[in-house]
């Protein structure tokens, strides 16, 4: 099926030794077969970056790719999301992208998932060996980061347990600027470790919007944030509803005329309301290429990974810079937490007492509040929450933690961040836990 020479370039990487290869790299033909047959990659996002990524990965020899995206194709996507055509407008991006890549690259299997990333469960994400992100929102990145980091387990010696790691390769672009980075949970910084790298959203003072608008964006934001609520009370604004967007545009246009401000257009309205920065096709191509290459490096170890963040600037010439960001040792999402073994019979109250007595915690804590996953087990303040959570104090911690060890988040005024405590119960290993669960049901 393969035409002659199809894999020649990939074979240069996979069949030869080199000085830059990753640990335990053994050049051999099976690598390419395994890349094609066994490895599964998930691409999140089938937009500007996603189209590029899917094409790049398929052409690099990845044989099993899944793609997830919740959007449908809009006519404004067609200039750069090159897998889509006019007749695809209105169809799900993931579905069309998967079809097109399979048509063009023989032998690749692309499975589309049309929906939100939050709708998929852990088992879905655990199927993949690498996840490549082509997203434009910080929320989505932050969500997937917390999912993937939650799979991470640490060995007794504090090193991350390799089988629990799913590496992520992330790309992002804003006009002529972009970044590509490699996140290996537990090894390199996660999104949360470096949240400060993302610029804050541009916001304007509400009173300026209301009284002294000076730019087209001010007029649009006024209609979006204030006038909508006044004139369409009870009607919740949906940025994906064209009628809503048109309404905002019309009103913003009138407001701009009133204040003698020029420049309110429909696409600017979309940009301001959805906080979109114009996308540049070449930036997407460059960033995706970097991401696809990193994905190939992680998958085959044919070269050591980028360490760990590459920024690209295309505004004046072409400039890139790679820098090694550091992990936050106390990161709320990816840090190992402090191991703490307790008896399975103790109550939450007793547990708090033990924390306060323990030499490794006692100087850091005075009145600790404790939560587990999404449940607040005990909150010291405010009084209304203290009262609601007080009944837990007498419950056995073992029951509160659903008969499994895990990470408790401990909050205390004396701490600058959150203390993560990894609780394990004496005499309860996994087998015992399973029997308990079976017997208790």
């Amino acid at each position: 099926m393969d035409m002659q020479g199809r894999w020649e370039d990939i074979d240069h990487l996979l069949l030869r030794q080199g000085t830059l290869v990753g640990p335990e790299f053994e050049p051999c033909a099976e690598l390419r077969e395994s890349l094609h047959n066994d490895l599964r990659v998930l691409v999140i996002g089938a937009g500007g970056l996603g189209c590029e990524l899917l094409k790049d990965l398929a052409l690099s020899g990845f044989g099993n790719i899944d793609v997830i995206d919740m959007d449908t194709i809009d006519v404004s996507n067609l200039n750069r999301q090159f897998l889509f055509r006019m007749h695809d407008v209105g169809k799900p991006k993931a579905v069309v992208a998967a079809e097109k890549v399979m048509q063009r690259v023989k032998g690749v299997k692309v499975v589309p998932h049309y929906g939100r990333i939050e709708e998929k469960d852990d088992e879905f994400y655990r199927q993949f060996q690498i996840i490549a992100l082509g997203l434009d929102s910080l929320e989505a990145r932050s969500y997937i980061n917390s999912v993937v980091c939650s799979f991470l387990e640490y060995e007794a010696d504090g090193s991350p347990a390799l089988p629990t790691i799913i590496p992520m390769v992330d790309g992002g672009t804003e006009g002529f600027k972009g970044h590509a980075r490699v996140i290996i949970p537990g090894v390199t910084p996660c999104f949360y470790c470096t949240l400060g790298l993302f610029p804050p959203q541009v916001t304007y003072p509400l009173c300026t919007l209301a009284e002294t608008p000076r730019s087209p964006a001010h007029c649009i934001e006024y209609v979006h944030l204030i006038q909508w609520g006044q004139e369409r009370p009870g009607d919740s604004f949906d940025a994906d509803n064209p009628e809503h967007m048109k309404w905002i545009f019309d009103k913003a246009f009138k407001r701009a005329e009133q204040f003698k401000i020029a420049g309110v257009t429909y696409s600017l309205t979309q940009g301001v309301v959805k906080n979109i920065i114009p996308a540049i096709a070449s930036t997407n191509a460059i960033i995706s290429a970097a991401c696809a290459l990193e994905t190939l490096k992680i998958a085959t170890m044919c070269c050591r990974s980028m360490d760990n963040y590459m920024m690209y600037m295309g505004t004046q010439g072409v400039y890139t810079h790679t820098l090694s960001h550091e992990k936050d040792p106390n990161c709320l999402v990816c840090s190992p937490g402090v191991p703490f073994e307790v008896d399975s019979s103790i109550s939450l109250q007793k547990f708090i007492e033990l924390l306060l007595e323990d030499p490794q915690f006692k100087d850091k804590l005075s009145k600790p509040s404790i939560s587990y996953q999404k449940r607040n087990l005990y909150m010291q303040a405010p009084p209304v929450l203290e009262e609601m959570t007080r009944p837990h104090l007498n419950s056995p911690l073992f029951e509160l933690m659903e008969k499994a060890g895990g990470t408790l988040n401990v909050n205390d005024k004396k701490l600058t961040g959150i203390l993560r405590v990894n609780v394990s119960f004496r005499g309860h290993n996994d087998t015992v836990m399973d029997m308990d669960t079976a017997g208790g049901g």
Binding site: L138, C207, G229, M301, V333, M379, N411
Partner: protein, 180 residues
């Protein structure tokens, strides 16, 4: 890191077991941080907090302020707080649920407070916003108006402003959503 040759084996093992896994409920970064903020809240005697969705949803809560001095003494003002999953990267969304005659709060409940928008920084906390809101009632600012009419009255006729506030609060107590 990934040993391609052990993949087949791993996939087989995954298919064999772990069928009855309970999905772990993920806490967003915002939830983790707001938990910290809330466990450290320092509420004055004029401020109250409530959690309409119970003790495990800290992303949505209400703050009630009952000023004990100034123009708004004796009034009760309820604010809804909505915390984003990427809090504190993004400021909480705060709306005033009580109709109020105030230069910096419009009749739809939008609040003009700099730290809710252009001056928000991740080092600020829920406490900082509550202080800011309390301050709005002690010292309404006619120079940053959201309700221009109220601002003009405050600037030019403070006495009139005072009696407008009193009247609006009295009206509100009789009929909750009356406009004035």
């Amino acid at each position: 890191m990934i040993n391609l040759f052990s993949l087949k084996q791993k996939q087989k093992e995954a298919a064999d077991g772990t069928g009855g896994r309970v999905p772990v409920k993920k806490q967003s970064a915002g939830e983790l941080r707001v938990q910290k903020d809330i466990s450290e809240l320092n509420l004055s005697k004029t401020t109250f907090i409530s959690f309409p969705n119970g003790k495990d949803d800290l992303l949505n809560f209400e703050i009630t302020i009952r000023p004990d001095e100034g123009y708004y003494m004796g009034g009760t003002f309820v604010f809804s707080f909505k915390i984003s999953p990427i809090y504190p990267h993004e400021a909480p969304k705060v709306k005033c649920k009580t109709k109020v005659y105030h230069p910096n709060i419009d009749l739809e409940g939008n609040v003009c407070l700099n730290i809710l928008r252009e001056d928000w920084k991740p080092v600020l906390s829920i406490n900082s916003i509550i202080y800011g809101l309390q301050y709005l009632f002690l010292d309404p600012n006619p120079d940053d108006p959201l309700n221009q009419e109220a601002a003009d009255v405050l600037k030019d006729h403070p006495k009139q402003f005072e009696s407008n506030v009193k009247r609006s609060m009295a009206v509100k107590n009789i009929r909750k959503f009356a406009t004035y």
